[in-house]
Amino acid sequence: MLGTVLGMATRLVRRVRKPVALPDRFDGYAPIAVPATYLLLFLLVPIAFAIFISFFEYDAITLIDWTFTTQYYQDLLGDSFYVSVLWYTVRLAFIVSACAVLLGYPIGYYVAKTTPFRRQLALLAVFLPLMVGTVARIYGWIVLFATNGVINGFLGALVGVELSLLSNTFAVTVGLFSVFLPLVVLPVYSAIEDMPDSLVPAARNLGANRAEAFLKVELPLSLPGLISGTIFVFVLTMNSVVTPRLLGGRTDITMGVLMYDNAVTNLNWPFASATGTVLTVTTTVLVYVYFKYVRGRMGVET
């Protein structure tokens, strides 16, 4: 398919081509201009525009009333409701990242160390959910957690108890960290796989027991992978929209959900952008601080 498209382009160009003295790098750099401009137009410009808009007022009729204002930022950072939303989002992100690390590391370790066949299976188990899409996987949790769902069905039959597992922070937390778990596994797996096989035997030869070999050798060396995985999950959780909305209750509002509601339901774009800006700045600052802390404390290269 690609070939035919290019073939047609070739024939077109040949008709138009004139013999010219070509520069040293014979074919120029023209091709890269297209994707570069594309990203400029559809990534950088929109973001800049969104930030720009956040300083103007929302108008119910014309959508934007071009009066400068910092009201939205003042609200976001001053009003206790919005501050609590931000705080909630940050707490959520921390918890989810911590859980993701706790479970993601062993899986990554296992995948790196096991037999090739099992590794393929394990990678499939890790990789496939990632590709299936958030909504489908969340539905699975709904089925599991609903009042007439699987867990409650079980508990009801056995013990006669019913748990409210859905529409609350617990469900959101579980949902989020199940969605992002693969993102910790993959960098950890990479990092551990890159270590030479001889390190652990070397350590044991020098007198370490299995636990020490792990704690003092394997763990520190796989830390960079772990850290990049954690950061990735943290950022994505801070910005999550779909999972909190579907699994959470009325009070489980994250900054992402706030953005979505304001942008799509209320059409209050300036406020939505301001929310996005505050969110991004907060996330960046937190990640930066974390990063520095980790580097300073452990002398780790990433």
Partner: protein, 350 residues
């Protein structure tokens, strides 16, 4: 008007001068080597001629046309790459036919004929359907040669094509290249750091030192009159033996008054004056045996110099004296009778 002309060819990359004001006129059908150590600018020169590098200054003309400014595909040259650059996803036939299909409008039948003919010429008859990856090193080399020669370009460019080969293959292909040049007579520029290749293949050798041309002359002249220590070091320690080319039992031999050595260059014409070239490490000394024939001859050591890990001998064979080198401490003394065997020698274009 020479067939290929490089005038004041210069290439600078910022502060670095890769090619410094090199000029040469090449006649049609001539085989010129560009000889120099690594980093002396040889490959850059070649790429400039082929059109993959734009010169900072200078003129390149081929068959009367100024080629600077022409894209590589319009220059009617053939480039043999060091790593061959054969197309792995195509068969031998498609590789060889590639140029024919792109440069000229030939019918399918014509292309088939020409490809088959060139394959026969490089001793790969009927190889058309084979895949590139199944070929041996030598076979791949021949396909690379066939691919450019089938186009009968104005100019053939060789970028150190034999550098990556093992010794035996290198000798085989060197003879092949010479053979093809003799038969097809395409003007050739051959880049190498190997003096043996340069001296045995070329009509003239252009020696490059630090991006500059320091000598350009026929091989025997380079030896007899290096004109600089740098050039002398390049060729100085080799044996250049004068003699004649004759026939014995129908096969060509290199003859002096007292001995003869077989030549496997079947096309060598009988000649009154010829120069044999052999490196000292290829002159091997052994205990005396029966009288020599072929590549072994009786000889006598007339001089010994022990230089650390290497020993140099002067050894007389018949009425000529050879320089021989051997690893290790001296095994023979002045006056010893030895059997001298000769490996890998060639004729130098006189």
């Amino acid at each position: 008007m020479s067939f290929v002309s490089l005038q004041n060819l210069t290439k600078e990359y910022g502060d670095v001068v890769a090619v410094d004001d090199v000029s040469i006129d090449v006649s049609e059908g001539e085989f010129v080597s560009i000889l120099g150590p690594s980093g002396s600018g040889k490959t850059t020169m070649l790429k400039a001629i082929a059109g993959f590098v734009e010169p900072t200054n200078g003129v390149i003309s081929v068959a009367g046309r100024d080629v600077i400014g022409l894209p590589p595909e319009d220059r009617n040259m053939g480039l043999v790459f060091q790593r061959l650059a054969l197309f792995p996803h195509m068969s031998v036939f498609d590789n060889v036919a590639f140029g024919l299909r792109h440069r000229e409008s030939l019918s399918k039948a014509e292309i088939e004929t020409r490809v088959e003919d060139i394959l026969k010429l490089v001793s790969l008859p009927g190889y058309g359907d084979r895949s590139i990856t199944n070929l041996s090193g030598g076979e791949q080399q021949r396909v690379a040669l066939a691919r450019v020669m089938v186009l009968e370009p104005d100019l053939l460019l060789y970028d150190e094509p034999l550098s990556d080969l093992d010794r035996q293959l290198r000798e085989e292909m060197r003879r092949e290249i010479k053979d093809l040049h003799d038969r097809m007579g395409i003007t050739s520029i051959y880049v190498t750091h190997n003096q043996r290749e340069a001296l045995t293949l070329s009509d003239r050798v252009l020696v490059l030192q630090d991006a500059q041309k320091v000598r350009c002359a026929p091989p025997s002249e380079i030896y007899s009159d290096p004109q600089s220590e740098f050039v002398a070091n390049f060729v100085g320690d080799s044996n250049f033996i004068s003699g004649q080319i004759g026939r014995q039992n129908g096969a060509p031999v290199f003859e002096t008054d007292s001995f003869s050595l077989p030549l496997d260059d079947a096309t060598a014409d009988e000649s009154d004056s010829s120069v044999l070239y052999i490196r000292p490490e290829d002159v091997k000394l052994n205990e005396p045996a029966t009288t020599g024939n072929g590549v072994s001859q009786p000889g006598r050591v007339t001089g010994t110099v022990h230089l650390g890990s290497v020993t140099e001998y002067d050894v007389e064979v018949g009425d000529r004296t050879f320089l021989a080198t051997d690893l290790g401490a001296p095994r023979y003394e002045d006056g010893d009778e030895v059997t001298v065997s000769f490996a890998d020698y060639g004729l130098v274009e006189a």
